[in-house]
Amino acid sequence: MTGVKYFIISFFIVGTLAGIPHYFAKDTTTETEILNPYENLEGKWSATFKSTFFKGIIHYKFNKENNSFYITRVIEENGTDYRDNSLSLELKEYNGTSGKGIYHYQDEKVKEKIKCEVTFKSPNKLKVIYNYKGYPITETWTKLKQ
């Protein structure tokens, strides 16, 4: 009888000692995911536009505080180079590889919000997809060397 008793106690001990790390493993994985999924977005990015609305290059910089990209520089096709803060991309969610966000556009006359999807393709390639005035638009951003 003691044999059975010891077996049951052993089973309980092993179950407890193995169960505890399994139980807390959930916390670990989520924690590492949240640890900083935005890290790979940090730095400056460059996007080239060839649409009817705009032709040229826009440089963005990622702001960690509010998970948004802000324009640092606009270079038009004709070479005009200026600063601009009419456009920003705010990420609402992002898990390190993909996420959703909103393009904010604002000038004296209009204020627009456009939903978009962001995909992290590689450490120096980011895809931004959205619909603008009925046109599906895919932007490819490339990482700028600091």
Binding site: A18, A25, T28, E31
Partner: protein, 293 residues
Amino acid sequence: MENLTKLLNWEDVKGWFYVLNDLSIFYVILPFFIVELVRYTFLKQMSWDIIKDSIANMITFGAFVFIEYALGILFITKLYFWVYEHISLTHLPITWITIICCILLADFAYYWDHRMMHRIGIGWVTHTVHHSSPHFNMSVAYRFGPLDAVFPLLFSLPIVMLGFNPILVLFCEAFVQVFQTLLHTEAVGKLIKPIEAIFNTPSHHRVHHGSNRQYWDKNYAGILIIWDKIFGTFEPEVEKVVFGVSEPINSNNPITVFFHGFTRFADKLKNIKGFSNKLKAFVKPPDWEPSDE
């Protein structure tokens, strides 16, 4: 709690175990052995027998390491990884909680493995070597039998199946061994009550090495003595411990020491009549005789 569930850097973990397991010989074990030698001298107990015994212990350790390599410990780690990749529940992240539970599981597995080495004929064949010294000091901790590493590896395989990283399991097993190494001493008396109640201590481990009848097959613990208390094998140190096995080997010849379990077992088998009885001798307790049934 956050600190306990935080993912740890594996390189750091390897470093910590390297310091605890591998380097401890330099910063605790060897210095402590020197203290023990000074103590023997001071108490006028120093003898050629102690010196020869210590040398034999070192040689058995070398032979033990050699045999484990020859048997293919490398293969064993391959088996561990195969199990980990194919039949383990999950892969646990390396956190403090995982490490602590792995050490406790390795310690628990050690308890049963050690108990089995004492209570099964084939286990005692190899483990008797460790118990055969009439002395008790740090060097005795290194006195190993030829197959002493085989049984622990079998007992820790289930830990890998439960999702613990095989290398972490090996580190934890080694840690249980290193902890115990420090218990092989007569220089430390009983410690404070709470420690004696929870942990395996030099006092508890002296009992384990005792040849006094009431001390036989007691205190199998590695780190925690509570396993012995739970499973009915605890015995406190009361009577002065007489170290060694019940039938002393009276030899410091490393070859005699290293193989005496095998030679004695072979003699026993020769005297046992009947094939099934011979087979039984492998799994029955070492003091079993066919006439017992």
